[in-house]
Amino acid sequence: MILLLPTLAEPQHFSLLEKLLFAGLAVASAYSFWRRFGLVLGKILQSKKDPSFHFFPIGKRVWDFVWEVLFQAKVIRERPLPGLAHAFVFWAFCAFALVTLNHCAVVLGLGFLSPEGQIGRLYFYFAAVFALACAVSILCLFVRRFLIRPKWLGENLSYQSGVIALLIFVLMATYLASFFVADASPSARTLWWIHTLALLTFLPLIPHTKHLHLVLSPATVFLSRGSFSQIPPLSGDEDFGLVAGTDLTRLVSLQAYSCVECGRCTEHCPAANTGKLLNPKEIVLGLRGYLNDLGPASAEPLLGKYNAQEAVFQCTTCGACEFQCPVGIEHLPILVGLRRGAVNTGSWADGQGTKLFLNLERGSNALGLSPAERDKFIEKAGLPLFDGTQEYCLWLGCMGGYDPKGREIVAAFARVMNYLGTSYGVLRKEKCTGDPVRRLGNDLLFQQLAEANLEALAQNKVKKIVSICPHCVRTIQEDWKEYGTPPEIEHHSEFLARYADKLPHQTSPGPSHLEKIVFHDPCYLGRYRNVYDQPRTVVALAGELIEAPRNHERSFCCGAGGGLAFLGEETGERVSHNRAAELVATGAQTIAAACPFCNTMFRDALAATGEAAPELMDIAQLAARGLPQSGAS
């Protein structure tokens, strides 16, 4: 079979002039590559070392590398068609490594793959399959970028990308054409030279363009902090977050140079989608610009010319950007780091933000209410106090303890726990977990709140916590670790799903009459905690679960996260209105939420949309709705 196929034509003999010409061009190309790449590498290595960086456990790093880089899984999953096209280009590059080495080696008479030999022949066919797939893919990607022009790629056409696409196409086309010309013919020699010139032009273009990601992003993925939104601890007395160039760590600089400008972060960003200044891609490119112009030794503030403070404080920390990024950029440590730099040094002056900080400096909750209000609610709702004998500590949080709607959620969840016979109690005193100040970058206040709460939990000998608020759950479980060992904690959706078979199914007359319920994935439950199925199990008890267009890890934020619920009016469209409209458009009779912050945002948004808004309920309220009336406490 193989014998019937054409053979790769490769010139075997080169004149001295050709050899010298090749050597000269190769040296020039390599020099031009290194001149820029060495500079970039220098900037990365001159950046501050990451104090909390650990290679181990290395298994996760290897797995991420194999899955995200070699298999291109993230690239494909999040944008299937362009992702697959990109994967073919990538795989072709991998397959071409040997071909290219051999291609250059033949000039010196050192070719190691022979088109005549069995192995060489097989390998050239193997590479040809990839070359074909790559050529088709790059054409499709070219059409997408220059004719379809998705807005995420930016308003300006990137001509660099066009040149690169052309070069890749030429590389593949010349390779494939070499199968159809006679061995040792002038055509074969011409093809060889075109291929060589394309190759030597391509090499120096890599570090000069966003194609730098070819070289850097495999390292970025391998070296990334590894868990979602991992905010590194500050180290030493002079570390206040990302203030100036001297605070940029090697990881941040590496990530800044790795950005491939694909715009997936922007595509999913709630701020960028509602007309705000923030664009996560531009934040990363702003840092790159800073590094290019000023370098990592500069004392010039990072916020100012290169990135706007206003943009940094528009982030809801929903994490859609970091979740999407195919090259391992961790946007949240960067955005929160820039906020830390501004807040820890006092350069962020925002009326509402300062009010939130002062409320938490002096009081106990983010809403700025008297703790006596919480006591009154506990008494009125008949919630037992935690005394060390109960299984669960029911953590109320600011919303559950002080917000009228949050209290309804707590009361409903307490009814379910009473029905199930679970023993629980609430703490006599509780402070805000520090979630809003953590995300806004106030480390002083966050530490005070975390330490005070950890001490109270230890004094009360709490072993297990359950909470209705994904923000509390995340902050207690992950962020408090910097200051102690928090007790085990779970979100009420996880608790409720575990007892789903003990809870009544709310059956309707017929399947066609089932109440349609759309579930909104809270960012801090989904992307932050990887909990998607449990709340859906609870919703399914109450009616027919339907999905919004953006669901699971692509869920769109309600606009409350990152402390933004406590800041002033948004510019542009409200994030909550955008998401609420999407949920209403599903035609559901009920919107199910699993976070008191989402709940309060949607309550306001639905009130603004007017008459026929669907009902808004927490999953705890849906579960409690089906309980027999005697189960009420």
Binding site: T345, G346, A349, L358, E361, R362, G363, D443, L444
Partner: protein, 259 residues
Amino acid sequence: MKIVVAIKQVRERDAQVRIDAAGKWIEEGDLQFALNESDAYALEEALQLKEKSAAADGEVIVVSAGPERVGTTIREALAKGADRAIHIDCDDLGQRDALGVAHLLAAAIKPESPDLVLTGLQSEDLGLGQTGVILAELLGLPHATLILHVEKTETGLTVKRELEEGWFQSIDLPTPAVLTIQSGGNKLRYATLMGIKRAKTKEVRRVTAAELGVDTPPVVVLEQVTLPQKQKSTQILDGTAKEAAAALVEKLKFEVRVL
């Protein structure tokens, strides 16, 4: 300009207070303490005056009298930007009247010869509103009270006083002077991590009443502290909404006299 700010640590605003066994003060064991609100505004005013001034020799010194725990409030003031502090160590603040406390503060402030002394207009716990004015008298300085805004002029100061019913008064006075500051004139700043770290190296001088040579017996003696009697007189107005509204207006006009 050298500015001294006299501050007081009081129980946290929303704390549930209980009267102690002797009936002379509140039980302090369980309480959290914070900076008195109008003192926080006095500090803010001082910091802003220093920041606005072109002169590099500006200094803000906080002075506070009280037990060991006052140290945390002093640190907070240093973190917000005060340059150094004097802690007058005394456990018997409760037994001293306003005159006695003013004597302590005056003795500590006098050697500093400041250009301006600021303090809150009253404390959140006792609310006497006298310490600042007595302090002015003891220092032999002119004073003005209920100040919302201070501006430095060529010859001294121009201050904005709050009067009743939305009226304000503008006064010029010479320096040195004592001003008692009303809450709400400025936006307060939050304490920052950098501020706290910098505060660690700032000087806090501790002195005792004996070292200051102050031994004033109280003129006013606190007899007893009681919680206010809770009284709720809820009235339900019957009738249709229209009738109830009319009755409500009647009551607000003639009984409560707020309309």
